[in-house]
Amino acid sequence: MSAANTETLVEPAIPESESEAPKLTRIPLEPAELAAIYEEHARPVFYLALRMLGDATQAEDATHDVFLKAYRKLGDFKGQSSIRTWLYRITINHCQNLLQSWHRRHIHGTDDEAIWERAAGPADSPLRALETKELGQRIQTTLDSLPEEYRLLLLLVADEKLSYEEIASLTNQSTDAVRGKLHRARRAFATGFNRTA
């Protein structure tokens, strides 16, 4: 991450400790409850991991680990945030930990926002693509080229079940900051995506 990027959207990855879940009275979790949670949230969790990591196999492993952690900790969860938000927090931390170790060996894209500010095109022009597998590859290439905070912000905003307040909480900043950065993230994505054509 560059020195210019002082206002970080994402906190440094931290170990997923018990402190992530609200410290509340433990309630029993039945397998049927976990099955229902998995049914509802597996796809968004897998998708977030897939686009954060850029690798389907790693994303599958990450999703497995996220739900296993959720199983271990869900007894402490009493609904101070939504289950989706809580699962996303575990997913983000888990993926960031993986990415931190990978980034020591591989450098992807640039986190220098200034570069994207100079290069960004109009945000309101439509994004055209062919309805093929190529779309997923182009999306991944574009996301990989963005600063991590833009990437994560776009992925979270794409989930209509999350409010701006929840996204702000997940990314540790104010809702105003989320809105401001989202505008820049959209422009950066549009510019990057059109370059992949």
């Binding site: 029993p28 597996a42 686009r51 497995h64 296993l68 007894g75 693509a129």
Partner: protein, 80 residues
């Protein structure tokens, strides 16, 4: 090249040109457009399937987990 071969070659070229045109039209009809990046990501997410074997793998992992501690009231009163 005799006239018969030339005729067959011309016919084949016409067929191939027709196929190329059809392919182009199919490609055009499959084009999708998105107003915003999040709309595109939403579409992409909807197309993404969770790997089929993941749920079984998760079940196996959960079965290996040690029993979770019971609440104090469960320890005191059982499962009433």
């Amino acid at each position: 090249m005799n006239p018969h071969e030339k005729s067959r070659l011309n016919q084949r070229e016409k067929e191939q040109a027709s196929l190329r045109q059809d392919a182009g039209q199919n490609t055009q009809s499959a084009a999708v457009e998105f107003a915003t990046p999040e709309e595109m990501l939403r579409y992409d997410a909807a197309q993404t399937e969770v790997p089929a074997g993941l749920v079984e793998r998760l079940q196996e992992s959960i079965q290996k987990e040690p029993p979770r501690p019971r609440n104090w009231w469960q320890r005191l009163f059982g499962n009433l």
